[in-house]
């Protein structure tokens, strides 16, 4: 086939870019927004992202002594809660591919007194640098969308989970209500980039955000990807009309 010789491309928002360029472009987005990330999340979601994360934590089943991996953990919202739940015998690893985000996260956690049972690792979700069968729970919140090879990431997360361990993917998804979809699209493509421009000085990064959400696999597709990788008991729960979905699966 002649396509074999063509350069492999993937999507960066609505643009097609070479596979290796997506990594760099996504990195640039997060280097750009790291300092304002928390503020923007609050403003953009009207604070609802806290509720989405709260529900994720409540359903995690994380207990004292557990090992938890928070991938693409960015500025550490989930890690902060997990660190308390696992106690001194447990461990939370906050991993992110982006060093700007990791450093903002570490500073924030240290400032709020989280230390001793949290480790920081710069890593790519597609090839995680951990032993097989290490973690009881893995979370990836608003991160999978930015990964170039999502199937590789899901397989890698399966590998490092303990048998019986749980993967939780919190991610933007597809709205099921036409009226909500219309409103949400207007907000995403008109208001959001303006907010990004005014507050973070960066409209392009927030335009990427809106576009990447639309390109992300919908609820059933992502569930199928998890099953394909070997997860069992895969299910999802829509939040806020499907703007966000929480997928969970268990390593057999």
């Amino acid at each position: 086939m002649s396509e074999q010789n063509e350069k492999k491309t993937t999507h960066f928002g609505y643009q097609d870019v070479p596979v290796e360029e997506k990594v760099k472009r996504v990195a640039d987005v997060f280097h750009s927004v790291a300092g304002k990330y928390d503020l923007m999340n609050d403003l953009m979601s009207g604070g609802i992202h806290r509720l989405w994360k709260r529900i994720t934590i409540d359903q995690s089943g994380v207990r004292r002594g557990h090992k938890v991996l928070d991938i693409a953990g960015g500025t550490g919202d989930l890690t902060r809660k997990f660190a308390r739940m696992v106690g001194s015998e447990g461990k939370v690893v906050l991993a992110d591919i982006n060093d700007s985000m990791l450093k903002v996260g570490r500073d924030k956690l240290l400032n709020s007194g989280v230390a001793g049972n949290v480790e920081y690792v710069q890593a790519n979700a597609e090839c995680l640098p951990f032993e097989d069968n290490t973690f009881d729970v893995i979370t990836i919140a608003f991160g999978l969308r930015n990964v170039t090879d999502q199937n590789a990431a899901i397989a890698s997360m399966l590998r490092v989970l303990k048998p019986g361990g749980k993967l939780m993917i919190l991610e933007f998804s597809k709205t099921d209500n036409p009226a909500l979809t219309k409103l949400y699209d207007f907000y995403s493509f008109n208001i959001l980039p303006q907010m990004g421009k005014v507050i973070a000085g960066d409209a392009d990064s927030y335009r990427y955000l809106a576009e990447s959400i639309r390109k992300h696999p919908d609820q059933e597709t992502l569930k199928g990807m998890m099953e394909q990788a070997g997860f069992v008991n895969c299910r999802y729960q829509n939040m806020t009309g499907g703007i966000v979905a929480l997928h969970t699966g268990i390593k057999p």
Binding site: E119, Y120, E131
Partner: protein, 63 residues
């Protein structure tokens, strides 16, 4: 970096265990011949950021 992290950390390429070279502040994988930097106390476990060990280093590391 907490040395206990080495209990669970492996080379993302070979999945083999790592050795901490404190002098150079790198995590060394003999299997893949890669050295991962530790920057600001954070191990950078990305193949794209790793240094390839020289043949002398590989000999020395394997002794």
């Amino acid at each position: 970096m907490d040395p206990k992290l080495l209990d669970i950390l492996v080379c993302p390429v070979s999945k083999a265990p790592l050795e901490w070279n404190k002098e150079k502040n790198e995590l060394i994988c003999r299997a893949s011949g890669l050295a991962y930097p530790i920057r600001d106390d954070i191990p950078v476990m990305l193949e794209s950021e790793a240094r390839t060990l020289t043949s002398e280093e590989r000999l020395k590391e394997s002794q």
